[in-house]
């Protein structure tokens, strides 16, 4: 179970049974840490906290695990504070941790605006902050750890165009159901993908931007694109959670096998669907590794060494051809499963 961190207004989304069980297990673990924040503190290391918008979302929980694992690896004491997507709680947490005089903060804020307030407070207290994945409307941070959306999308596009060429659809077009393009990650994903299309000589059949991220919305967009562009041979879904809506639309249009589907981000089911060819491929972020990178950045800072202001964590472009090879990495860095 993996959830995308990009939806800042996200609510708890319907899950498959498998996902629901995993979520319960993760939540129980997260809840235990939240109620005894200092239980894992180490006596001789630095004291750091991970302020997360909502640990109940798998993506953040996987990232917490990366943070936690890396902090422990360095002998630091680390605690997680989940705001449960409430700005007030987030502010309360930052006030609290600042009162506690922590040495560093990894921040995955509720939104980029709230991040600015947190950063401001932390700066006021002289505490270094590393932001993980969600950007901030402030640059008062030590380093920003983000996925390399452009490169990931580019690689994913190459997988798709390659598959389409193999099927002899060199002149076919690709429809895009995109996340909102006002976001930086949306723009980077489109740009990387379009680069791959251009290099392959294919063209975009059109783009529909998601608004409410509902099943119906994705289903409708997919339908419209297929109807409007009979020559369209692939749909690229910039998110992962509504892949089923797209599949449903293709199936309903009797174009299963005629219209390919590729997604960004990952769902546990993809480990099955990609090998089966239902999905041509998926661009998978690595939250676990991002958590590790964040702690590493603090560590570097504490050592007195310069820290890059921004660090990009690679996105894994997974296809039926490399999934077997990448599976260990996917399990740990994407799905946060213990090795």
């Amino acid at each position: 179970m993996v959830m995308t961190p990009v939806d800042q207004q996200a609510t708890i989304r319907p899950r498959t049974m498998t996902t629901r069980r995993q979520l319960l297990a993760l939540s129980a673990a997260a809840g235990a840490t939240a109620f005894s924040p200092w239980a894992l503190a180490q006596a001789n290391g630095k004291r750091l906290v991970y302020l997360v918008s909502d640990q109940r979302i798998p993506f953040w929980d996987i990232m917490w695990r990366g943070v936690q694992a890396q902090a422990r690896a360095h002998g630091h004491r680390v605690d997680v504070f989940s705001a449960n997507n409430e700005a007030g709680r987030e502010l309360k947490h930052i006030a609290e941790v600042l009162r506690q005089r922590v040495d560093g903060i990894v921040l995955s804020p509720t939104n980029s605006s709230a991040a600015a307030t947190v950063l401001k407070l932390a700066k006021g207290a002289g505490v270094p902050v590393v932001i993980a994945d969600i950007g901030a409307e402030s640059d008062d941070y030590l380093s920003y750890i983000a996925s390399d959306n452009f490169e990931g999308s580019y690689q994913l596009g190459r997988i798709l165009t390659s598959a389409m060429k193999q099927k002899g659809w060199s002149q076919a077009s690709v429809g895009i159901v995109a996340i909102p393009q006002r976001r930086a990650n949306g723009k980077a994903r489109t740009a990387g993908f379009m680069k791959a299309l251009e290099e392959s000589g294919m063209r975009s059949a059109g783009m529909r931007q998601q608004v409410d991220f509902s099943h119906q919305e994705t289903f409708t967009f997919t339908n419209e694109l297929m109807r409007a562009h009979p020559d369209m041979r692939a749909i690229w879904l910039q998110g992962s959670d509504r892949y089923q809506a797209a599949l449903d639309a293709i199936a309903q249009a009797n174009k299963a096998g005629q219209v390919l589907l590729t997604c960004f981000d990952a769902e546990p089911e993809f480990l099955d669907l990609i090998p089966r060819g239902v999905l041509v491929g998926a661009g998978m972020q690595q939250p676990y590794r991002m958590g590790q990178d964040a702690v590493n950045a603090l560590n570097t800072h504490w050592r007195g060494e310069p820290v890059p202001k921004q660090q990009l964590t690679p996105v894994l472009a997974v296809s039926s051809e490399n999934i077997r090879q990448l599976l260990p990495t996917i399990r740990r860095n994407v799905l946060g499963l213990a090795e």
Binding site: A87, G88, E90, L91, K92, A95, R99, S113, A114, A115, A116, T117, K120, L121, E137, S138
Partner: protein
């Protein structure tokens, strides 16, 4: 001119200063106004912004979106003119466990920065801010989330004001410069340039410093008036200059002397005539006072009166005696005028005078001719009448008696006949002198003519006092007179009349009584005197009317007015008529006034008669006026009537009844010889009457001793020359000379003269030639009843020859008088031959009066006239022929004498004709 300040520059400075001051004041006021407005706007905006912020911040604060609302604050502070926006977030404070959570934005050095509560500089600015507003932020549920405060300092205000003032200043300066420029251009065009043009025109002057050309007419009303006024002034100056030149010409060339002094009588200037008359040069009198000329003949009171007149009336005129440089005292007719300035203060005096020495001499000569006998230089009949009148008045006052002794020489004609006129004249001269010595000083001895003398003795107490004087006179007359070897002897008969008598009597009557008594003395055997017996005379006067009878006649309406026309003989114009009273006596028929008026002379009835005459004449004038005829009617007024206290009131009443009377239509004739005792009173009466429109004439002018006094002091418009002069003028050169003299006086004094007693055409022509155009007498018309007058006026035409009679000059008059002299000589000669009762005229052609004229005036004045030689020859021939004729006559050849007389008449006519030609030639050359 250049050192004077420029009006234009002054105006430029003034206008610039005023405009800049006004606009500067306006700008300051505007600055204050803008400041208030901007300040108010800032406050209003702050308040509005605060309210808006309060609303907009609420959701962010509810959502703990600190950064969001900080962005909002940043936007606000960039958009709004605030210095700081600070939010106090209670929820954040609670979340952060702080007492207060303050955040916000401030603008420092033009940049928006985060608010730092610990920044003391910011805190100071907050405290010093111009405006601070705060608003609570309350959630929809009513929870107070915090507050927002907006601070505005004066930076914005200053910026806005600076911007406003800069633009205002630039526009104000531009407007000021434009205004100044326009005003100066306008002033230059409308005021300065026209004034300069006017000044240029005024500056171009002629030799007298007067501008040559008129100043240009300026367009605008106000300055246009300057042009008009200047041009009017220039025209006035030119006119004044011309007048001054004329005045200077007149001043310099006037015949009259002119002297100008300052207010203190110091001489400022005199003209050439002054120098000619007084002998003093201009340099000699400048700075001196007119007292230099004082003769000493006038006392201080005279000069004080003169100064008083000048002070009060501003003018004095009259006769004054002054002294020339050579010491000679001379009379002058002087007019002094005071010249005052605008405030009425005397600035100078202008004296204008004429040397009237000649006039005085003429007057003196005339007076002498008029009042003294030419041979004996004793008073003549005229002066005698005056002396007698005065003696009578004196006697009345003093209670004494006056005696009139009428003396006629016995057998004087024999002396003349036997020894010639020269001897007779010498006899008369010596007797006159003796008789003068026989009387007291103060008594009068006069010669009436021929061998008639009259003595007036005054201050006698009774009739007996006469005797010694009468006898002394008889003695003086009978003493022999030695003329060389010749001893002549005559005697005298004397008639005496005394005054006063039991009845009123006038001088003429008294004289007639004396004459009558003298006749008695002659009748009684000559060489004696006889006293007139008044009582006996009255008893014998059977025919004479009594006063009562005359009164009765008045009551019975027996009187009537006749009218004798007065005309201009030269033009034929009828001037008017004199009303003359007539008495329709039931028994004696129509009586003339001479038969009854003397009876009531000095009597109150005279006044009643006078009133009747006046009333009747006025009524008649009314009647004529209704018939469309208007002319002047003269009425004789007796002195006793005129001097009645109510005279003027009565006259006013009488005139008032006849409302249509025009001024001058009624003329009152006042007898010049009448008893005008109080000249000042009569003068006042006459002036008062003149106010009523009545005019005056002096009747019988020339017969009274005081003629000149009357002429000077009585405001009569007309002089009526006594008919005695007119009647005898053809034959009596003395009368003609008097007449001419009177005409000259009338002209000198600005009066009209009319001759009465014009009896013949010869009289008319001679009168016209000597310049007397107005006349009244039988030659024109006899007095006529009123009903005939209008018809006469309608029908009368003057003799056409009268209009051709040329008026002669004074020189011509002298020729005329000489001609009359010769006529008189010829008449006397003829009478001598015909009736042998007259004196023989002077036969020596070098001793007769004509020869005196011929040798003196004729030879001197007319020597260049060719006729004078012929006249002299004719004159000598006439005398020669006269000698021859007398010789023939004495030889008894009467017929031969008459033939010679005819020849003599022919020669005389030729002489008269030559004299006439001489007159014409003289006048044509004059």
């Amino acid at each position: 001119v250049s050192h004077r300040r420029s009006l234009y520059n002054l105006l430029a400075v003034l206008i610039s200063t005023v405009v800049l001051l006004v606009l500067g004041t306006h700008a300051l006021w505007m600055e204050g106004s803008h400041r208030n407005r901007v300040e108010k706007a800032v406050r209003a905006e702050a308040e509005a912004n605060l309210a808006s912020l309060s609303r907009n911040l609420t959701p962010f604060m509810e959502a703990y979106a600190v950064h969001e609302y900080e962005k909002l604050l940043a936007n606000e502070i960039e958009l709004r003119p605030h210095f700081a926006i600070i939010v106090s977030d209670k929820r954040m404070a609670r979340v952060l466990g702080q007492e207060e959570f303050l955040t916000g934005k401030v603008v420092t050095q033009g940049e928006v920065r985060d608010f730092d509560p610990n920044d003391e500089a910011i805190q100071q600015r907050l405290r010093a801010s111009l405006h601070a507003g705060q608003s609570a932020i309350v959630s929809a549920e009513g929870e107070t989330l915090g507050s927002v405060a907006v601070y505005t300092d004066d930076t914005v205000l200053r910026q806005q004001l600076r911007t406003i003032l800069l633009s205002e200043g630039i526009s104000t300066l531009a407007v000021a410069l434009a205004m100044i420029g326009m005003l100066l251009a306008l002033i230059h065009r409308v005021v300065v340039r026209p004034l300069r043009d006017v000044a240029d025109a005024i500056g171009q002057t002629d030799a007298d410093g007067i501008p040559r050309a008129p100043v240009p007419m300026l367009s605008y009303h106000e300055v246009g008036r300057l042009s008009e006024a200047t041009n009017a002034m220039l025209a006035e100056i030119r006119s004044t200059r011309d007048k001054l030149k004329q005045s200077a010409e007149v001043f310099e060339h006037a015949n009259d002397g002119i002297m100008i002094t300052d207010a203190d009588a110091h001489v400022l200037d005199v003209n050439a005539a002054f120098t000619r008359i007084t002998g003093y040069s201009r340099a000699e009198v400048l700075g001196r006072t007119p007292s230099l000329l004082r003769s000493g003949r006038h006392d201080q009171a005279f000069y004080q009166a003169m100064r008083a007149d000048l002070r009060e009336k501003g003018v004095w005129n009259g006769e004054i005696w002054n002294r020339r440089k050579d010491g000679v005292v001379f009379p002058e007719m002087l007019t002094i005028s005071a010249v005052r300035d605008e405030s009425g203060r005397i600035q100078r005096y202008v004296a204008l005078f004429a040397d009237i020495t000649q006039l005085k001499n003429q007057q003196s000569e005339l007076e002498h001719i008029a009042h003294y006998d030419a041979l004996t230089h004793l008073p003549n009949r005229v002066l005698l009448a005056d002396r007698l009148k005065q003696a009578m008045q004196s006697a009345e006052r003093r209670g004494t008696r006056v005696a009139v002794l009428f003396l006629d020489l016995d057998n004087f004609k024999t002396v003349n006949d036997q020894h010639g006129h020269e001897a007779g004249d010498e006899l008369l001269l010596q007797l006159a002198e003796r008789m003068g010595h026989a009387l007291r000083q103060g008594d009068t001895i006069a010669r009436l003519g021929g061998d008639e003398f009259v003595a007036v003795l005054q201050d006698l107490q009774n009739q007996e006092d006469i005797q010694p004087y009468a006898e002394r006179l008889l003695q003086a007359a009978q003493l022999p007179v030695c003329l060389g070897p010749l001893e002549l002897r005559v005697s005298a008969s004397v008639g005496v009349a005394l005054y006063p008598q039991s009845e009123p009597i006038d001088p003429d009557q008294l004289l007639r009584q004396a004459d009558q008594a003298m006749y008695q003395a002659k009748q009684s055997g000559k060489n004696r005197y006889h006293v007139f017996d008044a009582d006996q005379d009255r008893a014998t006067r059977g025919l004479h009317e009594s006063v009562e009878r005359i009164r009765e006649a008045l009551n019975n309406h027996e009187f009537e007015l006749f009218y004798q026309p007065k005309v201009n003989m030269r033009t034929g114009k009828v001037l008017g008529a004199e009303a003359l009273i007539r008495w329709h006596h039931p028994q004696r028929g129509l009586l003339s006034p001479g038969t009854f008026l003397p009876i009531i002379s000095g009597h109150a009835l005279n006044i009643d008669i006078g009133r009747w005459v006046l009333k009747t004449a006025l009524a008649q004038m009314d009647a004529w006026r209704k018939q469309g005829a208007r002319f002047q009617i003269s009425v004789n007024i007796e002195a006793i009537h005129l001097q009645q206290p109510q005279f003027v009131a009565e006259l006013r009443e009488a005139i008032g009844v006849h409302a249509g009377l025009a001024p001058g239509e009624l003329e009152l004739e006042v007898l010049e010889t009448a008893a005008l005792e109080d000249v000042a009173q009569v003068s006042a009466l006459m002036r008062a009457s003149q106010q009523l429109g009545v005019s005056f004439s002096l009747d019988d002018f020339g017969t009274g001793y005081s003629s000149l006094t009357y002429l000077k002091r009585l405001p009569a418009e007309v002089l009526k020359i006594d008919q005695s002069f007119v009647r005898d003028m053809l034959d009596d050169p003395d009368d003609l000379a008097i007449l001419a003299g009177v005409l000259g006086l009338a002209q000198t004094f600005g009066r009209k003269a009319i001759a009465e007693g014009v009896e013949t055409k010869a009289h008319v022509e001679l009168l016209l030639r000597i310049g007397c155009d107005l006349g009244q007498g039988y030659a024109i018309a006899r007095p006529m009843p009123a009903e005939q007058l209008l018809e006469w006026v309608a029908n009368w035409r003057p003799d056409p020859a009268w209009a051709l009679c040329q008026r002669v000059s004074p020189l011509g008059q002298a020729v005329l008088i000489a001609t009359v002299e010769h006529n008189a000589w010829m008449t006397q000669l003829r009478r001598y031959l015909q009736v042998q009762e007259q004196h023989l005229p002077e036969l020596d052609h070098e001793r007769c009066r004509f020869s005196q004229w011929l040798e003196q005036s004729g030879a001197e004045t007319y020597r260049h006239q060719p006729a004078i030689g012929r006249i002299a020859l004719l004159h000598k021939e006439i005398h020669d022929r006269a000698h021859q004729m007398l010789r023939v006559h004495r030889e008894g050849d009467t017929a031969g004498a008459l033939v010679l007389l005819q020849e003599l008449q022919g020669l005389k006519d030729e002489l008269v004709e030559q004299m006439h030609d001489l007159t014409i030639r003289i006048d044509s050359q004059a």
